[in-house]
C-alpha cells in the first residue's frame, strides 16, 4: 500500500499500479485516450497529464503523464492546476485540428470518447482555420464501417486487434502526419473479435455496420440487460431497442466472464430477430398453411389434450430454464425428453458429474487469464466458445507480464513488457486435429485424430499419477513435457468440452485433471458445452431423444410438443421423419422456420431472447437472467414460450389457474426441481424497487416521447407494463446505482461513451460494484469423490480404408439462430470437407470438387477444402452449417470421388 496525496487529499492505494488507473479507481475524472484498462498504457496521446510535486514545499511541480507514472509512497499530485489544464486543452486542440466536422453523421456521436474529452478539457471553440488532413476509407466487411478521417492516432485499435486478440490483418501504416490504421488492402477483417473495435476506438473510425442500418443514438435506446444465447459461455450483453425493434447489441461488463469484450457472433448475431424466417403467426398446417387467431387456438388444440392421450414434450438446450420447466410441467416428468442426442446427453451428464464431484476448480474466464500452463484437448475454442479463446490468449500475455515483473518492469507498461520479450514464452498446449487460432501463442501444437489426442492425454495422466489408466502414445517426449509443465505449474488449466463430441478425449481430459488432483495440485478445468443452456437442461430430469424414438415404436405418441428445437439438428433425417410420422399431432414452438416447423401440425410463434425473459446456465454452472428489451405484442402473435405452454396447460387442465408471471413459474420450478435450489431468492423479482420505483430502461435523455406514437393517436397512452421484471418501459424511475445484474446503460456525468463503464467497477478491469452477476448453481465438492475413467483404448482405423472423421465448427454458421443474421450470412461457408492435400492426392481428389461422404446411414455431398495441418487419414466435416443434415460425429466414414 502507498499513501498518496491528490489535490490535497490523502489516499491509501495499492502501490505499483499506474497513476491513471488509480485515479480512475478513486473516481477522479482524468481525461485519457490511449489508456484502456485491459490494454495497458503506452503514453502516446499525452492527454492524461497531471502535475507531480517533489514534496510538500514544491509549489511549481512538473507535468507527467499519469498513465506512465507508477504509484509510489508519498506521491503528491494535482489534477486541477492551471498549467496542466491548459496543457490538456492544447493536446485536444491539436488533435482536433484534423478531426472532421462530422459529428451529426457519425455513428459515434453521443457516445464518443473524443467528444467527452473535448468537453472535459474545456476546448470549446475551434480556432484552426487551415486545411484538414483526409484519408481514403477501406471496405472492411459486413461488420465494421471505416471512416479514417476521424482518427486521432491513439493506437488503441491495433493494440486490441493485434496484441490483445491476435489479429493479423489490421495494422498501422505510413509515417509522420500520415499514420493510417487499416488493412493492407480492402477486405473483410478476419479476426473473430473485430466488433470490439467499435467500443475500443475512442472516436468514430470503426463503427458498427449492422447497427448503422437502423441507426439510433445511444440516448434514444431503451436498454435491457441480456445474456448472449449463441454459445455456452453466457457473455453479458446490453440489448438496445427503439420503435419496437432490436437495434444493437453491446457489451455489458462482467468481471468474471466477458470483461470489456465480446465475440463477433455474440455482437452481430442478434440480427436473426429481424430475419424473414421469423415465425410471427400461429399456423395450422395440414398440407396448406392457415393462420389461426389467438382466440381460436383452444378450439384448434382441443383434441390434442384429451384424457388418456400419450403426450410427450421435447425440451431444448437453447430455451430458458423457465420455458423448459413449463414444458415439463405440461407433459409431466415421465414424458419430458431433453432435445439432444443420446451421445450429447451422455457426455454432458458425464462432464457435469465430474465438475460437481471431483472437487476441481471450475474457472471463470477471468481466472483462465491467470493460468500459467494450459492444456486444450480436442476443442477448437475460437469456433465453439470464442470468448474463451480470447481469455486463453491473455494467459499467454500474462506469462509475458510475469517475466517482465521479474525484471521490475511494471506489467501495465505495454510496450516495455513486449520489448522485454517479444517471443511469447507461454506454456499452452493445444491438441486438436487441425490448426488452431491459438497456434501463434502456443508452445507446441499437437495435431492428431481424437484417438491420438486421447492417448496423449492419457499418457500425460499416467505420467502424473501411476494409478491413472495408461495408454500408448507415440508422442512420449511431448507427453512428458506436458506432464512436467503441469506438475510445476502454479495455476494449471485444462480445457475440453462436449462440443468436440469425443468421449475418450473428454474422459482423458478429466483423467489428467484427476491425476493433478490426486497429486494435491490446484487445477482448473474449463468445459465447453454445445449451447447456451445445455448445462441447465441437463440438470432437468428426463431422457434423451433416442429413448423417445425407441419408445414410440411400442407406444405411439398422440401429441408431441417441441420447444424451440429443430429435431433435424439432433438426429438423423430418416429417424426424425419416421418418428414425426408416428406422432398424431405435432405442436412446435419456435422462433425461426426450420425443417421441424415445416412438419408440424400447429406452429406457435415463440419470442426471441430480446422479447422474452428467463434464466440460462452457462458452462461454469452460473445461472444468469436475461430480460426482455421489447414490449409484448410488437412482433405479431409471438409470445414467450412459457406463456404459450401456460396456455396449453390451461387448455389441458380445466382447473389450472395458470401462472401470472415469470416469478410464479420460477418459484414453482424451484419447489419442484431441487437441482436449482441454490437460486432461491437470488434474482430480483418483479416486486424489486429502488427507492420505491422500478428501474427505467430508457435514459433520462430519451427523446420523442410525445411524438413516437402520435401518428396512430395524438393522445399519449400509458407506457407498456412489464409484469415480469424490475424494469419499466419508461424513462421514469431510479437510474443511479442499480444492482450489478440490472445495469441498463453506462453513463456518468461527463462520460457519455462506453468508457463510463469504469464508474461501475470497483477498479478498472476489476469486478462490478456489488459483485459480478450470476449465481453458481452447483457447489463443488470439497473433496474429490470421483475416480479415473477407464478408457477403452483407441480404435485404430488403419487398414480399414475408412477415414477418421471429426466435426469442424465455424464461429459463423454453426450456431442455429445467429446463422440467420443477415450480416453473418456473408461470412458463412458452404458445408465442406477438410482433407490433407497428400491424402487427397492419394485418393485422386482435387480441391473444391464435390465428394461423397458416407457416415453411418447418411450420405453427404461436400466440397473439399485442403488443410495442411491435418494428420493423415483424418478428415474434418463441417457440422451444423446451414444446409448440413445431422451426422453423428466423430466417427469413421467413407469418402468417395464423384
Amino acid at each position: 500500500m502507498a499513501k498518496i496525496k491528490i489535490d490535497g487529499k490523502q489516499f491509501e492505494v495499492e502501490a505499483g499500479k499506474n497513476l491513471l488507473d488509480t485515479c480512475l479507481e478513486l473516481g477522479f475524472d482524468i481525461p485519457h485516450f490511449c489508456f484502456h484498462p485491459a490494454l495497458g498504457s503506452v503514453g502516446s496521446c499525452r492527454l492524461c497529464a497531471v502535475k507531480k510535486y517533489k514534496d510538500e514545499e514544491d509549489s511549481r511541480g512538473r507535468i507527467v503523464m499519469s498513465c506512465m507514472e507508477p504509484v509510489t509512497d508519498g506521491l503528491i499530485i494535482s489534477t486541477h492546476d492551471e498549467e496542466e489544464k491548459t496543457f490538456r486543452a492544447e493536446v485536444v486542440e491539436s488533435l482536433m485540428t484534423n478531426h472532421p466536422h462530422d459529428c451529426p453523421v457519425c455513428d459515434e456521436g453521443g457516445e464518443c470518447h473524443l467528444q467527452d474529452m473535448t468537453v472535459m478539457t474545456g476546448h470549446n471553440y475551434r480556432q484552426f482555420d487551415f486545411k484538414k488532413r483526409t484519408y481514403q476509407n477501406q471496405e472492411l466487411g459486413p461488420f465494421i464501417k471505416h471512416e479514417m478521417n476521424r482518427c486521432i492516432q491513439c493506437y488503441r485499435c491495433v493494440r486490441f486487434y493485434k496484441d490483445y486478440a491476435g489479429g493479423k490483418d489490421l495494422n498501422v501504416f505510413a509515417s509522420n502526419n500520415r499514420v493510417y490504421f487499416g488493412r493492407f488492402e480492402d477486405g473483410t477483417l478476419e479476426n473473430e473479435f473485430s466488433g470490439n473495435l467499435t467500443e475500443v476506438c475512442p472516436t468514430g473510425v470503426f463503427t458498427d455496420k449492422t447497427a448503422h442500418k437502423h441507426f439510433t443514438r445511444k440516448w434514444d435506446l431503451s436498454n435491457t440487460p441480456s445474456v448472449c444465447t449463441h454459445c455456452s459461455l453466457g457473455c453479458n450483453t446490453l440489448a438496445g431497442e427503439r420503435y419496437g425493434t432490436l437495434r444493437r447489441i453491446r457489451n455489458r461488463y462482467h468481471g468474471d466472464i466477458n470483461g470489456y469484450f465480446l465475440c463477433d457472433r455474440g455482437r452481430f448475431g442478434y440480427e436473426f430477430v429481424g430475419s424473414d424466417n421469423r415465425i410471427k403467426e400461429i399456423w395450422k398446417q395440414n398440407g396448406n398453411r392457415e393462420v389461426v387467431s389467438s382466440e381460436s387456438l383452444s378450439e384448434v388444440l382441443s383434441g390434442a389434450f384429451q384424457e388418456g392421450h400419450n403426450m410427450v414434450g421435447i425440451g431444448s438446450p437453447r430455451a430458458s430454464l423457465e420455458a423448459n420447466y413449463s414444458l415439463l410441467s405440461l407433459v409431466g416428468t415421465d414424458h419430458f425428453y431433453h432435445g439432444v442426442s443420446a451421445h450429447e446427453y451422455e457426455l454432458t451428464k458425464m462432464a457435469l458429474d465430474f465438475m460437481q464431484n471431483s472437487g476441481i476448480q471450475i474457472p471463470t474466464l477471468k481466472q483462465m487469464e491467470t493460468a500459467d500452463v494450459v492444456l486444450i484437448l480436442g476443442e477448437d475454442l475460437v469456433n465453439t466458445a470464442p470468448r474463451m479463446a480470447l481469455a486463453v490468449r491473455q494467459a499467454a500475455r500474462h506469462s509475458m507480464n510475469k517475466d517482465a515483473g521479474a525484471k521490475k518492469i511494471p506489467e501495465w507498461t505495454e510496450l516495455a513488457v513486449r520489448d522485454n520479450q517479444p517471443v511469447l514464452s507461454t506454456q499452452i498446449y493445444v491438441a486438436t486435429p487441425k490448426k488452431d487460432s491459438l497456434d501463434d501463442v502456443i508452445k507446441q501444437p499437437f495435431r492428431g485424430g481424437y484417438s491420438e489426442i486421447a492417448a496423449l492425454a492419457s499418457s500425460v495422466a499416467a505420467l502424473l499419477d501411476k494409478n491413472a489408466p495408461a495408454a500408448d502414445s507415440e508422442h512420449k517426449k511431448l507427453a512428458s513435457d506436458i506432464a512436467k509443465a503441469l506438475q510445476n505449474a502454479e495455476n494449471p488449466l485444462i480445457i475440453s468440452g462436449v462440443t468436440c463430441g469425443d468421449k475418450e478425449v473428454l474422459q482423458s481430459a478429466c483423467n489428467v485433471a484427476q491425476a493433478l488432483l490426486n497429486n494435491d495440485k490446484k487445477v482448473m478445468l474449463g468445459m465447453i458445452f454445445p449451447e447456451s443452456n445445455s448445462t441447465g437442461l441437463s440438470l432437468f430430469p428426463g431422457k434423451p431423444l433416442a429413448d423417445l424414438f425407441a419408445s414410440s415404436e411400442k407406444k405411439p405418441v398422440d401429441t408431441l410438443v417441441v420447444l424451440e428445437n429443430d429435431l433435424y439438428r439432433r438426429a438423423e433425417t430418416g429417424q426424425v421423419n419416421d418418428f414425426l410420422l408416428k406422432c398424431k399431432q405435432v405442436i412446435v414452438l419456435d422462433q425461426l422456420q426450420n425443417e421441424t416447423t415445416v412438419k408440424a401440425d400447429v406452429v406457435l410463434p415463440a419470442a426471441v431472447f430480446s422479447e422474452s425473459e428467463g434464466t440460462l446456465v452457462n458452462n461454469e454452472g452460473r445461472a444468469q437472467r436475461f430480460y426482455k428489451a421489447i414490449p409484448d405484442g410488437e412482433n405479431g402473435q409471438a409470445r414467450e414460450s412459457w406463456l404459450w405452454l401456460n396456455e396449453l396447460k390451461e387448455i389441458k387442465e380445466n382447473g389450472f389457474e395458470g401462472w401470472s408471471s415469470l416469478d410464479d413459474v420460477f418459484q414453482s420450478m424451484l419447489n419442484e426441481l431441487p437441482a436449482f435450489a441454490a437460486l432461491k431468492g437470488k434474482f430480483p423479482d418483479e416486486g424489486f424497487r429502488m427507492l420505491g420505483r422500478k428501474i427505467p430502461r430508457e435514459s433520462f435523455r430519451y427523446s420523442g416521447r410525445t411524438s413516437i406514437h402520435a401518428r396512430e393517436s395524438v393522445s399519449e397512452s400509458y407506457p407498456p407494463e412489464d409484469f415480469d421484471s424490475p424494469f419499466a418501459f419508461s424513462m421514469e424511475g431510479q437510474q443511479e446505482d442499480p444492482p450489478s445484474s440490472l445495469i441498463t446503460s453506462y453513463w456518468s456525468p461527463g462520460w457519455n461513451s462506453v468508457q463510463a463503464t469504469n464508474k461501475y467497477l470497483d477498479k478498472p478491469n476489476g469486478d462490478l460494484k456489488g459483485g459480478n452477476p450470476g449465481i453458481r448453481i452447483f457447489p463443488t465438492a470439497a473433496k474429490s469423490k470421483t475416480s479415473y475413467f477407464k478408457l477403452n483404448g483407441s480404435k485404430s482405423n488403419k487398414g480399414t480404408g475408412e477415414w477418421q472423421l471429426f466435426p469442424v465448427y465455424q464461429i459463423f454458421g454453426s450456431e442455429e439462430l445467429s446463422a440467420a443474421a443477415s450480416s453473418l450470412s456473408e461470412r458463412i461457408k458452404e458445408p465442406f470437407l477438410l482433407l490433407h492435400p497428400d491424402d487427397a492426392r492419394d485418393a485422386g481428389i482435387d480441391e473444391s470438387t464435390a465428394v461423397q461422404v458416407e457416415i453411418k446411414n447418411e450420405k453427404l455431398t461436400l466440397r473439399v477444402n485442403f488443410e495442411n495441418s491435418l494428420p493423415r487419414k483424418v478428415a474434418g466435416v463441417s457440422l451444423q452449417l446451414p444446409g448440413m443434415p445431422f451426422v453423428a460425429l466423430p466417427g469413421s466414414g467413407k469418402i468417395t470421388k464423384m
Partner: protein
C-alpha cells in the same frame, strides 16, 4: 379629485391617437424573419434534403415532440426515413433550430396553425419539408464535413487537403 380629473382627461385625449388594433385576418401583422413560428425542414442549394437525421433536434426538444429515424441513401447520404413533429406539444422555443448542425430545421414567421382536430397537428416529413433553403442560403453541410456521402469526394471539401498517400516515404 385632481387625480380623477387627470385620468378622465388623459382617456379623452386617446380619442385622437392612432389605433393600435389591427384588423386581423384582413390585415396581417409584421413578423420578423427570425420569428419563431411553424417549423419547416429545408433543402440545400442542390435541392437535396438538408436533414442528416442526427437526432440533435429531438434531443434538444423540451417537450420531446420530435421523433425521426435515420436511413441511408444509395450514395451513403443520410436522411430521415420519417420525421414527425407533434405540434400539439410544441412550444415553439426554437431549441431544435439552435441545435441543428445543418440549418435543416428552421422556424418560420407563420403561426396560423389552428385545427379543430388535435390529430391534424401531427406533421410528418411531407408536411414539413419545403422546396427552399429558408434563412441560410448556400450552406451545404456535406461540403464542410469530412465524409464522402455523394456530395463531394474525399479531399474536395471546402477545408480539406487531398487524401494522404500512405505509401510515400517522403517526410
Amino acid at each position: 379629485m385632481y387625480s380623477i380629473l387627470r385620468t378622465l382627461w388623459l382617456t379623452f385625449l386617446h380619442l385622437f391617437h392612432k389605433s393600435e388594433t389591427v384588423e386581423y385576418p384582413e390585415v396581417k401583422p409584421y413578423l420578423a424573419p427570425r420569428y419563431r413560428g411553424r417549423i419547416v425542414l429545408t433543402r440545400d442549394s442542390d435541392m437535396n434534403e438538408r436533414c442528416v437525421a442526427c437526432n440533435l433536434c429531438a434531443a434538444a426538444c423540451p417537450t420531446d415532440c420530435i421523433s425521426l429515424q435515420a436511413a441511408e441513401g444509395p450514395d451513403g447520404r443520410r436522411y430521415p426515413e420519417f420525421f414527425r413533429i407533434n405540434f400539439s406539444r410544441c412550444i415553439f422555443c426554437g431549441l431544435c433550430e439552435e441545435a441543428c448542425p445543418t440549418y435543416a430545421i428552421q422556424l418560420v414567421p407563420d403561426f396560423e396553425m389552428g385545427e379543430y382536430d388535435r390529430q391534424n397537428l401531427v406533421y410528418e416529413k411531407e408536411n414539413l419539408l419545403i422546396s427552399g433553403q429558408g434563412k441560410y442560403p448556400d450552406y451545404n453541410f456535406y461540403k464542410q464535413a469530412g465524409v464522402d456521402m455523394g456530395v463531394k469526394k474525399k479531399g474536395e471539401g471546402e477545408n480539406e487537403e487531398k487524401p494522404v498517400d500512405t505509401k510515400t516515404l517522403l517526410p
